[in-house]
């Protein structure tokens, strides 16, 4: 059990660091592409956590199938968000999220 805890705490530390990197990127940036990159980093941290949990509980197949679903959703999010960013850039000539103020009701 101590070995399990050791593995989980080591991985957990780095997963939290990865999550913090993604959250920091989302909080600080004003560029839409950087915001998408931040979301990608957050999703990667979650992916790693699910695989770790699957490995530790012996349910590797379930974890893998969940991760495949996550990756598919991740690609759709990235493609759609990049399309929206491109569309916004063509309308406002900027990738700055502040340029979307005109959408305010």
């Amino acid at each position: 059990m101590n070995g399990n805890w050791q593995l989980f705490s080591t991985f957990g530390f780095f997963i939290v660091l990865l999550f913090v990197c993604g959250a920091y990127c989302l909080v600080v940036t004003r560029s839409m592409i950087r915001a998408i990159i931040g979301i990608e980093l957050l999703i990667k941290a979650v992916t790693l956590l699910i695989i770790l949990a699957g490995n530790m509980t012996g349910q590797v197949a379930l974890a893998q199938s969940l991760v495949i679903t996550i990756i598919i959703v991740e690609v759709v999010i990235a493609a759609t968000a990049a399309g929206i960013a491109l569309s916004v850039f063509r309308h406002t000539d900027s990738l700055d999220v502040r340029s979307l103020k005109n959408l305010k009701g």
């Binding site: 705490s9 990197c21 980093l41 530790m56 012996g58 197949a61 495949i68 991740e74 690609v75 990235a78």
Partner: protein
Amino acid sequence: MGLLILTTMAALWTVMARSLLKATIGLAITSAAIAIIIFRLNSPLAAVFELSVCAGLITAIFVSTISLTKPLTHKEILQVSKDRIKRYWYLPVILAIVGALLIFMKARQDFTMIQAPGSPLDVRTMLWDFRRLDLLGQVMILIAGALGVVLLFGENKNDER
């Protein structure tokens, strides 16, 4: 351990890189390192997906988006960095305080892993037999994403005319 450090360093580089292209390359390196970690955690199929889709396809999407948009000049990037430091100087302080609290907090040492019910199955059996409804949802998400991208690009074509 080395791979975990590489992943974190690549993620830090991704976040701190001034050029968007460098940030994208950093994200690809992070994905590749995570794929190796996943492979070593006995999940080869997920590792293949992570490497081919996340490190390959998503990087291609980002690079093509960056090439279609106008990047900031070096002077603008420096200005943005200075503004960022002024606006968010307190974030590292908060992070350090939270980290210190977590380290000094007494962690539960009697950590027990909950075993999921049922025997471990093959990933294909799990995906095709037990998660059929989820697969339907995945297909619907894929179609919605494809339609969304087509609509966004189609709108741009009309604008150019």
